[in-house]
C-alpha cells in the first residue's frame, strides 16, 4: 500500500515545468498597440508611443507610428529619426521609405529622398505614390 501511495504522490509531483520563459513582463499594451493601426490624436499618443518604442525596440510598426505622430505634430526632425529607426529594424518597409522621402523632400534633401524612393520602388515596383514623388523630383531638376 505504501507503494501505491507513493505512486500517487509521484504522479502529482512528477510534472516538471520545462518552459521557464524569460518573461519580459507585459509592456502596458504596447504589444497590442503594435498590432493595431494608429488611432486617436497623434499628438496625445506620442508619449505612449515613445515609451513603447523604447520598450519594444524590435517593432518597426511602432517606430513608424511614432514617426507619423511626430510628423503630424510638426516635429519633423523627430519624425525623420523615428522613420530611420523603423527602417533600421525593417529595411523593406516601403511605406516608411516613402514617408521619409516626403520629409526629406520638404527639407530639400533631394538626393537622400531619391534613395528612399528607389528603395520603395524595389519593394513595391510601379507603386503610384513612389512614381509621383519620383516625378516631382524630376520636375524640379
Amino acid at each position: 500500500m505504501a507503494a501505491a501511495l507513493l505512486l500517487a504522490a509521484l504522479w502529482a509531483l512528477l510534472p516538471v515545468q520545462l518552459n521557464h520563459a524569460t518573461d519580459a513582463g507585459s509592456i502596458d499594451g504596447c504589444f497590442t498597440r503594435a498590432d493595431q493601426a494608429p488611432a486617436g490624436d497623434p499628438a496625445t499618443e506620442i508619449p505612449l508611443l515613445e515609451r513603447c518604442v523604447d520598450s519594444v525596440s524590435t517593432d518597426a510598426d511602432l517606430a513608424a507610428d511614432l514617426g507619423a505622430a511626430y510628423a503630424a505634430a510638426g516635429r519633423d526632425a523627430d519624425a525623420e529619426r523615428a522613420y530611420r529607426r523603423a527602417l533600421a529594424i525593417d529595411p523593406d518597409f516601403a511605406d516608411v521609405h516613402l514617408k521619409l522621402a516626403e520629409q526629406l523632400l520638404r527639407h530639400g534633401s533631394t538626393a537622400d529622398a531619391q534613395t528612399h524612393i528607389d528603395a520603395a520602388l524595389k519593394i513595391q515596383p510601379n507603386q503610384r505614390v513612389a512614381r509621383q514623388l519620383r516625378d516631382r523630383i524630376a520636375a524640379t531638376q
Binding site: V16, H20, Q127
Partner: protein, 810 residues
Amino acid sequence: MIPRLAFVAARLLAGGVFLLTWAYGVTTRSPFAFDMFVKPQLSPTLVSFVTWHPAIFGVAYFVSAITLTPTLRTPAATTRQHWARGAAIGYVVFFGAVTWWLIRRPYLASLGGGDTSLLVVPGALLPVAWLAAIDHLASTPTTNTAQPALNQQTLLRAASGSAVVLWAAHLAGAWIGGGQITVAGASWSLLIDLAVAQVAYLAIAFAATVSPRADRHVEYWIVVLAVGVAIGAFGRQIVLPPLAFSDADRTLVALPFGAALAVMWSGLRVSGGAGPRQGAFTLLAAPEPHAARRVAMIVLTLCGAAYLTSLTGRLDWAFIMRQSIAVAEAMTVFALILPLAARGSRPGWTLPRLITPPLAVVALLHFVPLASTVPWLRAALDPRAAVERAIATDALARAASMLVVSRQPIDSAFFRTMLDDEASLWSTAPSVPPDALMPINTPATAPNIFLFVIDSLRRDYLSPYNAAVTFTPEIERWARDSFVFKNAFTTYGGTAQAMPSLWAGRSVPRGWARIMKDINNLERLIDATGYDFLINDHTVRAHLNDAVPRTFLNPFVASVNTDLCQNFEAVSTHLRTRTSRQPVFTFLAPMNVHILNTMGGTAPQDYPGFYAPTAAQLARVDTCFGNFVAYLKNQGLFDNSIIVLTSDHGDSLGEGGRWGHQLYLFPEVVRVPLIISVPPAMRAQLTTDLSRVAFLSDITPTLTSLVTGRARDGDPPDGGVLLVPSDQQVRNRRRRAFMVMSSYGPVFGVLRKNGRDMYMTDLRDWQEYAFELGPVGYREVPVTADTRLASQAALLRDVEAVKGLYLRRP
C-alpha cells in the same frame, strides 16, 4: 509434441500477422491516415499486404492451429484442461470460418476508412487473446519455489541498472554518430531515464506489496495488467496522436492493443512452463538461465536497437519508430537484467528504502528547472534546451518527457482548447462553404501558366534569397526580371494540406479530400479559360474533377521519384507534338529535394553551409530550369507566359538535430520561396509589395486576377491577390497575425510583425518557442508573456475562422 522453439516461432508469426491486421485497421480508422497513405497507395508494401491478406491470414491461422495440437490431443483430466480443449476446438472452428470468409471476401481491401474499420480494430486482437486464454487454461498451476521472488533490492537494481545501461548505450550511439552531446543534455537525459525506471520500479513494487505473500498469482496478474497499460499508454500518447485520433479513439485503440501484447507474452511464458503462481518474476524475466549469455543478449539487444534506429534514418516519421524501438529495447534489457539483479539480493521490503530512490529522482527533476532560473546557471541548465539535446541522443528520454515530464502547467486552458479544436478539425466531416468557388470571368485570351511547386524546397537554398548560394545561377538569372516575394510562407507544414490550400486559394480543413472537387478554384480557372492542362502531382490528382480534361505527365513514375527535369522533357514533348493552340497550364510538383530523396545521399562536391545532397539536387534542377526557360524563349512562348516557382513547404536539414517537415513547424519549414514572372507587357502595369506576408493560398487568386481581371482578395483564411494594377495597392497585412500549422499533427504557429516574429507551440508535448526571422536565417528568442498572449489569441481566432468556414452544421 512440438519443439519449444518451433512453438514460439509459430506463435510469434501468427501474432505478428494478427497485430499487422490490427495496425492496418487502425490506419484506415484514422481519416487522416486513410486519406493520406492508404487511399493514394503510397506504400507498395501496404498494397501487397492488403492484396495478399486472406492468404497471409490463412497461413497465420494454420500455424497457430498447429500449436494447439498438444491441447487438442491430450485427454482432458481436469476441468481446466476440459475448458482448454473446448477453447482450442472453438478457436480452430471459429477462425477457420473467419479464414474461409476472408478468402471469399477480402475484407481489408473493402475498408473505406472511418467507422467501417471498427470491426477490424478489436477483431484482429481476438485470436491473440484467445490463444493466450488457451495457454493459461492448458497450463498446470504449479508453484515453483526455486524461482526467485520479486524483492525491493532486485527490482531497484534491475530498474536503475537498465536505465543506466540504456542511457550509456544511447549516448555512445550518439557519440559514434557524431551527435552533439553536452553535460547538461546528458545529465538531463539520465535523470529522465532514471525517472522512467523509478515509475516502473514503483508500479511493480505496488503489485508485489499488495499481493498475499503465499499466493503470488495476484502479483503476476497485476503486473500483466501494468505491462498492458504501459504499452497502451505509450501507444495512446506517442504513436496515435500524429495519426490524428480523437482522445476516445486513442484509448479504445491503444489499451486493448497493450492488453493483447501483455497476455500474448504471458501466454507464451505460461506455455513454456512458467505460471502465474510463480509470481511476476517469471513474467518479467527473460527465459535465459546463463549469465554470460544474458550479457551477450543485452549487448545484442542494444546493438540491434541501434541498428534498427539507424535504419529509420531521417524519415519524417522516424521519431515514432525510434521511440517504439526504444521502448521495446528498454523492456528487453530490463527482462535480461532482472535475473542478474536477483543474485544475492536481500528479500523483503522496507518503506524508507522503498521511497528514497524515487523521491531523490523527483527532487532532482525539480531542482534542475529551479536552478535554471538562476541567471548564471541558466545557460548550463536550461531544461528545455537540455531535453531537446537529449532528444537526439535518447529516444527513451524523449518518449518519457512526452508522457510525463514535460507537461506544461501554464495556459493549460489554451492547450486543451487547441487540442479540442484540433480533434474537431480532424473528426468532423467538412462542409462546402457557400462562397467556396470564386466567380470567374472567361477571358478572350489568356497567357500560358507554368506553376512549379518543388516539394520541400527551402528559400534559403535559392540565390535570389541567399547570396551565399552559388548553385542556382539559372533561377537567379530568371528571378532578376521577376517578382521575388521575400516573406512567403506556407500555412501548412506538410504537403497534405499545403498543396490543396494552393489549389483552393484559401485555407483548407483537415478533411479537405472529401470536398476538394467543390472548393478547387485553380481547377475552375483552368476549366473556365479552356487551358490545355498538364499536370504531374500526386496530392490533389485523385481529387480533381473528371470533367476537366488533363494530361498527366510521366504517369508511370512513382510519386517519390518525380523529377523536374523529366517533367520538363514531357512538357516540351507535349508542346512540340500537340495540335491544340489553346494556352497551356502546367502544374508540376517534383520531389527532387524531398528528404526521402536526399537523406543519406551523396554529392559530387562540397557545398559549405548547405546540406550537400540537397544542394547537388538543386544544382541539377537549376540547369534543367534554365534550359526550360531558354526553350520557352526559343519557341516564342516566354513573353506570353506566367511562371511561378515555389514549394509546398521547407524542410529541416539538420537544424537542432531535426530532419524533415511532417511534424515540425520551425521557420525553415514554414518559409517558402515564391517567385513569379509575368509577360513583360503585363509587368509594367502591375505593382505589389514584395515584403508583404504572402501565402501559397494567394497564388490562385493572383493567377485568377491576372488572367481574368478579378478575383477574391482577402486575408487568411482566404487567399489574396499579390499583383494588382499599378494604380492600386495590395492589401496591407503588416499588422495581422497569421496562423500556420502542421498538416499532420497538433503543432501550430503564429506569424506576427509582417512575418518577422514567429511563435510556435507543439501540443504533442506542450512546448512553445519564439523566433525572430531575418532575411536568411532566424534565431530563437525567449517566449515572453506578451508573445504568448498575442499569439495564442491569434491562434484561437484563426482556428475558429477555419472552423467557421468548413465545420458549419445545417
